[in-house]
C-alpha cells in the first residue's frame, strides 16, 4: 500500500470544480427568490445541495480516487445521520401526545 499511486485532479480541474460549486450556489439563491415554485423549491434545492456535497466529497476529499473503504466509512455516517434526522422528525410529528 505504501507504494500505491493515487491519481488526483490537476489544479485547473480543482478550479473548474470550484466554479461549478459557485454557479450551483448562485442558482440556489436565485431559485430561492422564485416564489412561484412553491413547494417545488424543496426537491430542487435538495438535489442542488446534494450535488455540491457530492462534488466536494468526490473531488476535493478525493473519495473518487481513494480506497473504497474510506467511502464506506463516510457514507455510513451520512446515511445514519439522514436516518436520525427522519427518525427524530417522524417521532416528534407522529409520536408526541401518544405516550
Amino acid at each position: 500500500m505504501s507504494k500505491e499511486e493515487i491519481h488526483h485532479p490537476t489544479a485547473k480541474q480543482y478550479f473548474r470544480i470550484a466554479m461549478v460549486l459557485s454557479v450551483i450556489t448562485a442558482i440556489e439563491v436565485a431559485i430561492f427568490y422564485l416564489e412561484f415554485l412553491g413547494y417545488w423549491m424543496v426537491p430542487i434545492l435538495v438535489v442542488l445541495s446534494t450535488g455540491k456535497f457530492a462534488l466536494v466529497a468526490m473531488y476535493y476529499m478525493h473519495l473518487r480516487y481513494d480506497h473504497k473503504l474510506f467511502t464506506y466509512l463516510f457514507v455510513t455516517g451520512v446515511v445514519l445521520a439522514t436516518v436520525v434526522i427522519f427518525a427524530i422528525i417522524s417521532l416528534f410529528s407522529f409520536g408526541i401526545g401518544r405516550w
Binding site: Y14, T25, S49, H67, F70, A81, A87, F92
Partner: protein
Amino acid sequence: MSTDVHNNTHEDHDYTTTGLNHRKMLMWAFLGSDCMFFGALIATYLVYQGKSLVGPYPIDVFDIPVTSVSTFVLLMSSMSMVLAYAALTQNKINGFRIWMASTAIMGATFIGFQVYEFSSFSTFHVDIESCAEQKVKYGKFDDYEAELCSNAKDDHVETHDGLKPQTNLFGTTFYTLTGFHGAHVTLGIVWILSLLFLSYKKGMITPERHLDVDLAALYWHFVDVVWIVIFTVIYLFGVFPFPGS
C-alpha cells in the same frame, strides 16, 4: 480526465493489515461520526422549526444575500485548501504556504461573517411608529410585528430584545447548530495555521509527509460540506414563504 500522479509514500508502520493508513482511516471514521453529530443538531432544529412561542423568527432575522457571500467564501477556501495540498505534493513549498494562508484568511472571513450575523441577530429590534397606520400602509404585518402589535398596550411598539439563545426555540437550536459549526471552522483555522508555521521548520512539512496536510484538508472540506447542508436546510428553507405558511 487527465491526472497528476504522485507517490503516496510514508513510513511502513503507518499501514495496517487493511493495507490502509490508520491515521487516514481514523480521520474518515471521525468524519463519519461527526456527520451523525451534526445530523442530530439539524434534526433538533427541524423538529422545533415553527414551534417558537415568541419572535423573532427566521424570516425576521435571516439575511440571505449576506449568508450567500459567506457560503461562497467557505467554498473558495475549500478550493484553496486542495490547491495547497496539490502544491505540496508537487514540492512547491511557496505555493503551499500561499494557498494555506489564503485558506486561513477565507476561514477567518467566514467566522467574521458569523460574528456579524450573531451580533446583528442579538441586537435585532423592531420600531413600529403606529400599528394602525402600518396596517393601512402595508395591509398586513409580518408574523412577529403582528404579534408585537397585538400584545402592545398602545399604538407604538418598540422592542430591543433581539434573538439570543434563550429567546425562543429557534434561537436555542439555531445558535447551537451554527455555533458548533463555527467552532469546527475555528479549530480548522488553528490547524491550518499550525501547519503553515511548521512549514518554516525544516523537514516538518515535506511532500513525503503530505498525509499531515491531507488530514487537515479532509477536516476542512468536511466543515464545508456540513455548511452546504446548513445553508440549504436552515437558511433557504427557513425563510422561504411556503404557500399556506
